[in-house]
């Protein structure tokens, strides 16, 4: 009897130790996001107070206390749009090729290769951009410099391509074989099966993949920083992608180290970073919420 009580007490205290440890870890992990956001918020709050009106302007000149963030916002969006317009169609079509055409063995090789390609560090892309791509672009368009918005968009497109292909391919392969067999047995052509059966079913996950790629495109720093030209100006006319520009990330990459901590300059930079986080976090969360919804239907 006494032994039983001893055993019970022993296992109870052991359980507490593991449980405490696990709980502490989980709490820490959950808290980190909040900590990061709070830290950013704390530093950027004063920025709004100090330079409120100029923030929405288009001129960035710390010496004259002007902190217009619109050129950076514009740059981020334009670069992201160029990248998505190029990478999304090529990516989804490539994913269709891999999923619907390749034999199982070749498909696995392609998938492994893609996973490895998503791991290429962004600084390496930056190096290629600055030493190869920008020179090509300058040659093709006859420009003084190839460090322009277009180059950044092109580079980013190549960066997000493996991610889009990989995730879209997963989405397309997940459409159950039953649907495919029934459709082909009816004598439909491949493009009809893809258009009317597979893509409608895979639509959700593919859109989710798109959002993830979008988030990555907005948040990419090193590659964009080296090829965008660092010009704090919205080009005129605005659609001129052959001009240099600036994105939020390239601005941060270049100036955070050089601004004094606590200065208005620094605080505005932190504010921009906060805006960036809010944008990319929404993209990421939306993507994952979409993923789960389509899972639930499966």
């Amino acid at each position: 009897m006494a032994e039983a009580r001893f055993l019970i007490r022993k296992s109870y205290s052991e359980k507490s130790l593991t449980k405490t440890y696990a709980t502490a870890c989980a709490l820490l992990a959950s808290a980190i996001v909040i900590i990061i956001l709070s830290v950013l918020l704390s530093q950027s709050g004063s920025a709004i107070l100090d330079s409120g009106p100029s923030l929405l302007g288009t001129e960035w000149n710390p010496a004259r206390n002007l902190y217009g963030i619109l050129p950076m916002l514009y740059g981020s969006i334009i670069v992201m749009m160029i990248a998505m317009t190029l990478a999304l169609p090529i990516g989804i079509l490539s994913a269709l090729y891999i999923s619907e055409t390749l034999s199982e063995k070749r498909r696995r090789v392609a998938k492994t290769a893609l996973e490895i390609l998503t791991g290429i560090p962004s600084i390496v892309y930056g190096l290629i951009g600055v030493s190869v791509l920008s020179l090509w672009v300058a040659d093709i368009f006859g420009l003084q410099t190839g460090r322009i918005i277009l180059t950044a968009g092109l580079l980013l497109a190549v960066m997000i391509l493996p991610t889009i292909i990989s995730l879209s391919e997963d989405a397309i392969s997940n459409v159950s074989t039953q649907y495919r067999e029934n459709a082909y047995a009816l004598g439909l052509y491949r493009y009809e099966v893809i258009k009317d059966v597979i893509l409608p079913q895979a639509k959700g996950d593919v859109i989710g993949a798109g959002f993830l790629a979008l988030g990555r495109a907005l948040g990419e720093t090193m590659a964009v920083m080296l090829v965008i030209g660092s010009l704090d100006r919205i080009p005129s006319p605005a659609y001129n992608i052959l001009a240099s520009g600036q994105t939020i990330t390239s601005k941060l990459g270049r100036e955070v180290a050089e601004s004094a901590f606590g200065s208005t300059h620094f605080n505005v930079l932190v504010l921009m970073s906060l805006i960036l986080v809010v944008l990319t976090l929404s993209m990421t969360l939306m993507a994952h919420l979409i993923f789960r919804t389509t899972d639930a239907h499966a």
Binding site: E104, Q178, Y184
Partner: protein, 268 residues
């Protein structure tokens, strides 16, 4: 161990019907695994042919080869002669779209597309230009042939997923019929539905008999007894015996077939 069919077995079919499907020394593999070996068979037009045999005997693989739907399964290859409606299926140049407009298939598990009932029926003919009048007529004819019209005529625009499994299976039959094939392949069509729906589907198969050539894989010997004109008995990848239903269910067939068809036992 798979072995070739005993050679001198007479293929007993009705003399009046023409042969629409014939195979000669037909074999099939999934990778290294031989699932069919040396199948010699002839299937007659306008009759119901039931393919029976224990699990793993290759019946479904044989059926699925008749519309080349095995092509997309990893590692599948075939050898020998397989001729359907005059088309040689073992060549690489076979026009699969044309083949499947002549040979329709209904699968074991009903698979309706997430669309309306009407759109499901018309799914196989979407590429063809048809007036709205013709389309509506096709929908009605197909659903009537599939014994489903009375139940759904008032709700053709509702999602097909709202139908019961038995109704969904009949919808799949209607969908296959809308393509106007000559031959219908049915892979255990009543296996996934309730007994009442199963009987309804059997009744409709009997109605379809002369207009279509029907080949049906089934586990249900009693079902075979009820509706089959001809029977093919597979075991372990080989065609053990085939003949008219009268022949196969009489005492005149070989021991092995008799044991399987009466006691559902096969020692493979």
């Amino acid at each position: 161990m798979p072995h070739t069919s005993p050679p001198a077995l007479k293929v007993v079919t009705s003399n009046r019907a023409e042969t629409v499907i014939s195979t000669e020394n037909f074999s099939a593999w999934f990778g290294e695994n031989c699932v069919l070996s040396g199948i010699n068979s002839a299937i007659s037009k306008g009759r119901i042919t039931c393919i029976v045999g224990p699990s793993g005997s290759g019946k479904s693989t044989f059926l699925r080869s008749l519309n080349r739907i095995n092509d997309d399964v990893a590692g599948f290859r075939m050898q020998g002669t397989l001729s359907v409606n005059g088309l040689d299926l073992t060549s690489d140049n076979t026009d699969l779209t044309r083949l499947r407009s002549q040979v329709g298939m209904v699968f074991q598990k009903p698979c309706v597309f997430p669309r309306s009932i009407k759109e499901n029926v018309l799914f196989g003919v979407r590429g063809q230009k048809m007036s709205r009048l013709d389309k509506n007529k096709l929908v009605e004819d197909s659903l009537r042939s599939a014994a489903l019209w009375n139940e759904v005529s008032t709700r053709l625009d509702q999602p097909a997923t709202t139908l019961s499994l038995g109704q969904q299976q009949r919808l799949c039959i209607a969908r296959a019929l809308a393509v106007k094939p000559d031959i219908l392949l049915l892979d255990e069509p009543t296996a996934s539905v309730d007994p009442v729906s199963a009987r309804a589907i059997e009744a409709l198969i009997l109605m379809l008999r002369n207009t279509y050539t029907i080949i049906m894989v089934t586990h249900d010997i009693r079902q075979t007894r009820r509706i089959a004109d001809d029977v093919l008995f597979f075991c372990d990848g080989s065609l053990i015996e085939n003949g008219t239903s009268d022949f196969m269910f009489s005492k005149d067939c070989t021991e092995r077939s008799r044991v399987y068809l009466n006691e559902e036992f096969c020692d493979c």
